[in-house]
Amino acid sequence: MKLEYDLVIIGGGPAGLAVALEARRNTVKDILLLERDKYLGGILPQCIHNGFGVQYFKEELTGPEYAERFIAKLNDSQIDVKTETMVIKVTPDKRIIAMNRNDGLLHIQAKAVVLAMGCRERTREAIAIPGNRPAGIFTAGTAQRYINIEGYIPGREVVVLGSGDIGMIMARRMTLEGARVKAVLEIMPFSTGLIRNRVQCLDDFNISLKFNHTITRIEGERRVKRVIVARVDKNLQAIPGTEEEISCDTILLSVGLIPENELTGEAGIKLDPVTRGPIVNENRETEIEGIFACGNVLHVHDLADFVTEEGEIVGRAVGEYLKRNRKFRSQPIKIVPGENIAYVVPQHIDFIVPGRKKIKIFMRVKKPAEKVRIVFKDDKGEMMASYKKAIVTPGEMLSVYLPEVLLEDKLKNITISVKRD
């Protein structure tokens, strides 16, 4: 059995698939893709709704169709794939310890490693709702798997906590399958999901979306019987006297996603406290040379299309890395989040790349704002560039091109802020 590879990719979702195919196009020969599930595609096969591919393929696909486009290409390539294989450790010298039922324990040596493990849903425990612990409380993604893959309906009367995209999509899905969705509660004064989902998943079915509301208590002995909900104040604390009771047998949680970085942390790679993904340069390379990260393990994306785009950046970067075809700047440029910017990716720029015209910087704002400029400032606080935006919201990732000509040799920091226009 082959135990040495040029590139080992951990995770066979949209990120890992894009890396594998793009690395192959960039002359990386020896590639192994490791996936812990039985099938490739990551979360896509259970995302049966449409809306995928509009950016990348310029046509609207469902999740399974989007995945299949990449899986079919992968099956035609010379890329080795091991499914039902769990990676338990990645070392800084790029050894990977994994296991599966056929091969037992595997020690694989790679020249480059890509972390593409995706993210996990935040659970009820992570947000600490008081009350009983009855059956009937699911993350929205778990309910999605039950309904769309396994063929079970998890309940009949539903309250959704959180207006993230999966929560809204599941509100529609459960309605279509005959359940009654009584309310979607959002603690913030704005939705954290896409506008399209709000309209086509909630408004289309007259499902009420209550902003500034949360669940303050879950009641029921063996099964959820009701929730107590309340309006919250500016500090997100429940306002006494605003409580109301909603009877339901099921609660779906759509309260955020967390990048799955256990392996990354154990490898000693530093994480960004905001993204909860590794800190990376423009090649999406972590602080350990030759270990890269992309997709939702790096930062949570709104669209699979953007994950694919990031996977392709890494696929190309791995090619350059293996050819040792890289030139470092005399010092890295740090990209610093300023006013109303929650995070930026990449966090630094390390390379001089002949012919490169611009670098795409991804970011998320902290709070919504209208008629603004995204402002880039240098070490001295001098404005380098600015871009007009009609609206920015935390639910929609922003991207802005940073022109290469601005990246002078002496530059150490670039601060990005959102300012009123």
């Binding site: 299949e68 063929g151 309209v199 919201t393």
Partner: protein, 127 residues
């Protein structure tokens, strides 16, 4: 005179628009920031269309369901009725992505197609 309120989905701004109409004809659209809003409002007012993604029962498959979608968008008002009709459908494994599961769903002229591959339960191949 009637009034409908809708949110435009053409971009992240999500303009809240008010459509005024008389005898089923639009008399005014307000609240849009650009021309895309007008087009969206007109489509939504006259005949809102949606693609319907759902699942269909599979007999003898490696999984109990196959994901499906209407090949084209169908009138929004038919969505729940279409679900009732789709609930009756069963399909034998194997199922190929793109395979027509039912043609002319509810007389719309639109087919229901599979959106993934499902192998037979007895096949040992992995993909």
């Amino acid at each position: 005179m009637e009034q409908n309120k809708i949110i435009c989905v053409s971009c992240p701004i999500g303009c809240r628009m008010t459509i005024q109409s008389k005898d089923g004809k639009i008399t005014s659209i307000i609240g849009n920031a650009c021309l895309k809003g007008i087009k969206y409002a007109e489509e939504e007012f006259v005949n809102p269309l949606r693609i319907l993604p759902t699942t269909v029962k599979v007999i003898g498959g490696e999984l109990p369901l196959v994901s499906v979608k209407t090949e084209k968008a169908i009138p929004k008002r038919l969505l729940l009725e279409a679900m009732t009709e789709i609930a009756e459908i069963e399909v034998n494994a194997p199922v190929k992505i793109g395979q027509i599961i039912k043609d002319d769903l509810m007389g719309t002229g639109v087919s229901l197609v599979a959106t993934r591959n499902i192998k037979r339960a007895d096949s040992n191949q992995h993909s």
